[in-house]
C-alpha cells in the first residue's frame, strides 16, 4: 500500500460540507421553477401531465438531496468510504428512481412522457443554473453573484 492510498483511506474531511449548500440552492431553485414546469406540462399533457410533472420534480430534488447527504456523511468518516458510497449510491439511487416510477406507472394520473421530460429538463436545468453560480464564485470570488 503506497502513501497516497493509505492517506485516501485514513483522511477524513471535517468542517462544512459544500455539496449540502449546493443542494440547498438547487432545491430552492427547483421549488421556484416548479410551478412554471408544472404549468407547461399541464398545458401540453393536461392535468395528468401536471401531476406527473410534480412527481418528477420531487424525484429529482430527492435524488439530489440523497446524493449530497451520502457524500457529506461519508466524507466525515473517510475519503475511501466516500468513494465507495458514491459508487454504490449511484446504483441505489437509480434503483430508487426506477422503483418510484414502477410504483405509479399504472396509475390513472400518470403521464410517462411528461414525467420523463420533467426529470431530464429539471435535472439538467438546475445543474446548469447552479454551475453558473459555482463557476463565477470559484473564478471571481469578489464578484460572487447574489443568490435568487
Amino acid at each position: 500500500m503506497n502513501d497516497l492510498s493509505a492517506s485516501a483511506i485514513t483522511t477524513s474531511l471535517q468542517g462544512p460540507a459544500p455539496e449540502v449548500g449546493v443542494t440547498k440552492d438547487m432545491v430552492r431553485r427547483g421549488l421556484i421553477v416548479a410551478p412554471l414546469i408544472i404549468a407547461v406540462c399541464g398545458v401540453i399533457w393536461g392535468m395528468n401531465g401536471a401531476y406527473s410533472s410534480a412527481y418528477g420534480i420531487v424525484i429529482v430534488l430527492v435524488n439530489f438531496a440523497l446524493a449530497a447527504t451520502l457524500v457529506a456523511v461519508t466524507a466525515r468518516i473517510s475519503l475511501g468510504l466516500m468513494m465507495g458510497a458514491v459508487l454504490f449510491g449511484y446504483l441505489v439511487r437509480l434503483g430508487l428512481i426506477f422503483l418510484a416510477v414502477l410504483l405509479v406507472k399504472d396509475s390513472g394520473w400518470i403521464s410517462l412522457p411528461a414525467l420523463g421530460a420533467t426529470i431530464i429538463v429539471t435535472h439538467l436545468g438546475l445543474l446548469v443554473w447552479e454551475m453558473k453560480y459555482v463557476a463565477l464564485s470559484l473564478a471571481h470570488p469578489g464578484l460572487k453573484p447574489s443568490r435568487p
Binding site: 497516497l4 492517506s7 485516501a8 483522511t11 474531511l13 468542517g15 462544512p16 460540507a17 459544500p18 455539496e19 449546493v22 443542494t23 439530489f64 446524493a67 449530497a68 457524500v71 466524507a75 475519503l79 475511501g80 466516500m82 468513494m83 458514491v86 459508487l87 449511484y90 446504483l91 439511487r93 437509480l94 428512481i97 426506477f98 416510477v101 414502477l102 406507472k105 410517462l112 412522457p113 414525467l115 420523463g116 421530460a117 426529470i119 431530464i120 435535472h123 439538467l124 445543474l127 447552479e130 454551475m131 459555482v134 470559484l138
Partner: protein, 88 residues
C-alpha cells in the same frame, strides 16, 4: 431451450412486439448505465486523490466533484427516460 422456443411460438404478434420492446428497453437502460458508472468512478477516484494530496483544496474539489457526479448521472437518467417511454 426447446420449451422457451415453444413458448415464443405461442405468443401472438402483439405480445412478441411488446416482449421485443421490453427486452430492447432493458438492454438500452443497462447500456446507458454503464458509461456513467465508469465516469463517476473515474471522477470520484481522481477527486479523492486530489483531496488526499491537497486537503486545503478539498472544498473546491468536493463542489466540482458533486456537480460532475450530477452531470454524469444525467446520462443515466436520459437512458432511464428512454426505458420508461418505450419499454415500461
Amino acid at each position: 431451450m426447446e420449451a422457451f422456443a415453444h413458448l415464443v411460438n405461442e405468443l401472438n404478434a402483439a405480445d412478441q412486439k411488446a416482449a421485443n420492446a421490453a427486452s430492447s428497453a432493458g438492454f438500452a437502460y443497462g447500456l446507458a448505465a454503464i458509461g456513467p458508472g465508469i465516469g463517476i468512478g473515474y471522477l470520484v477516484g481522481k477527486s479523492v486523490e486530489a483531496m488526499a494530496r491537497q486537503p486545503e483544496a478539498a472544498g473546491m474539489v468536493r463542489t466540482t466533484m458533486f456537480l460532475g457526479i450530477a452531470f454524469t448521472e444525467a446520462l443515466a437518467l436520459i437512458g432511464f427516460v428512454v426505458f420508461i417511454l418505450i419499454g415500461l
